[in-house]
């Protein structure tokens, strides 16, 4: 036990840094991914077929391949094409694309579940469609998906662990570095698991709170 605490003390900054990077990349991915996903969702729900079909195919393709493949492929392809991104940046790009595909489907579902009467009501007071989208439809859709969105945030945190494979310095990567040095796999992988659990549990908890606060009924 003392040895673990001793090693833990030595490793404290590495672990802290790892946590920070994990939270940074997850947070950035979900924000950017949601923005992109909203565009995709709107395009899928209301776009004419030249817009809808490519988006549909892209979303289905991204969701049909494992995230790890997306991450590795992006990393190697970008490097090969001469675009030199850091591991963090490359990972963020992959996570964002993955998140966008996921959110696009969710937002599409939410938009399509809004009764058609809402659009009619907007038109009746003289709003143009873009305004109806921004002031009537999207607000409703967004409130509807708050619990799912929080859940997706937790998914992003879990998925960020895959970035360790391309060398991004998030928590799992740091843990692997530490274990590579002191061989205390049980203690440090265990600690790593507990830390991720705590982060996600906190997100789940925040989600329940947010769901109650933002619920439409």
């Amino acid at each position: 036990m003392e040895q673990f605490l001793h090693e833990l003390w030595i490793a404290r900054w590495a672990i802290a840094q790892g946590l920070v990077v994990t939270i940074e990349v997850s947070f950035a991915a979900i924000i950017l991914g949601t923005a992109l996903g909203t565009l995709a969702g709107v395009g899928l729900s209301y776009g004419p077929w030249p817009i809808r079909w490519p988006i549909r195919m892209a979303v289905d393709a991204i969701r049909g391949i494992p995230v790890l493949v997306l991450i590795l492929a992006a990393y190697y392809l970008l490097t090969f094409a001469g675009i030199n991104l850091t591991a963090f940046e490359s990972g963020l790009v992959s996570l964002t694309i993955f998140c966008a595909a996921h959110m696009g489907e969710i937002i599409r579902g939410a938009l399509q579940s809004i009764p058609a009467g809402q659009v009619d009501a907007g038109r009746a007071i003289g709003l143009t469609f873009p305004k109806i989208l921004v002031y009537v439809l999207l607000p409703q859709a967004m409130r509807q998906i708050v619990p799912v969105w929080i859940n997706t945030g937790a998914e992003m945190v879990k998925t960020s662990t895959l970035l360790s494979v391309i060398g991004t310095g998030e928590l799992l990567f740091r843990t692997q570095e530490i274990v590579g040095r002191n061989f205390m796999t049980l203690e440090f992988y265990g600690l790593c698991g507990v830390l991720y659990f705590l982060v996600n549990y906190a997100i789940e908890y925040a989600g329940k709170f947010a769901a109650r606060r933002f619920a439409l009924q």
Binding site: A61, G64, I65, P66, V67, L68, V69, L72, A73, Y76, L77, F80, A81, G82, A154, V157, K158, T159, S160, T161, L162, S164, V165, L172, Q176, V179, T185, L186, Y189, G190, C192, G193, Y196, F197, N200, Y201, E204
Partner: protein
């Protein structure tokens, strides 16, 4: 940039890719079988009279749904040997994925269980079936049918998760793609083939599941 896509590279290595794909499917199948057993057991456990089993199941579900799969895989393969539990790569991976899947499947089967109309249990008891017989002949089949769609999507998810086995050097599809990439630098061929194979397999499985669902009409 001077790069021409060479199909012959894919051709020459297709057996490795398909072998990796088959391994991935096998891992997914084994995991969902074990995970389903865990899920059904846990779902029924929560119906016990005492609150203790339900609480334990909730802890299990919460723990494994909030922990990243990759951490679980690495823990099982690298940390467990330190307390004497040493498994081969494949077994270790299946164990990790099955326990992870079990947490999600518990919720799937719980929902399936909740969808069993209450009166039907009374009817079973009224004709003289014991509690166990009602569970076996009445509740279980209905729960399974209710859970079928979610079981299907979980299987597809698990299949995609088998890509993580590459991290502990299990030679499935992602591992093969990465190997080809680092050995030959044929980036586009390697990754497009892997992506195409994964995508095609997911689509085929999804279509198969839709067919299966139509065979068993929903009540």
């Amino acid at each position: 940039m001077d790069y021409s896509f060479q199909f012959r590279v894919i051709e020459a290595n297709i057996d490795k890719f398909v072998g990796g794909l088959a391994l991935g499917l096998g891992l997914a199948l084994a995991s969902i079988l074990v995970g389903t057993l865990i899920g059904i057991f846990c779902a029924f456990a929560t119906t016990a009279k005492s609150k203790v089993p339900a609480r334990l199941v909730n802890i299990y579900v919460s723990a494994f749904r909030n922990t990243p799969l990759l951490v679980i895989i690495l823990f099982a393969y690298f940390a467990l040997p330190q307390i004497g539990l040493r498994f081969g790569k494949n077994e270790s991976f299946i164990l990790s994925l099955a326990i992870y899947a079990g947490a999600y499947l518990t919720e799937v089967f719980r929902a399936g269980l909740a969808g069993v109309p209450k009166g039907v249990v009374d009817a079973g008891r009224a004709i003289g079936l014991t509690g166990f017989q009602v569970a076996l002949y009445v509740v279980f089949p209905i729960m399974l049918r209710n859970a079928l769609p979610a079981l299907g999507t979980t299987f597809i998810s698990l299949f995609k998760d088998t890509s993580l086995a590459a991290v502990i050097a299990v030679p499935e599809l992602t591992y093969q793609a990465r190997k080809l990439n680092t050995e030959t630098f044929r980036v586009a061929e390697a990754w497009s083939t892997a992506a195409a194979l994964y995508l095609a397999t997911c689509l085929v499985i999804a279509a198969g599941l839709r067919r299966l669902e139509r065979l068993f009409p929903k009540f």
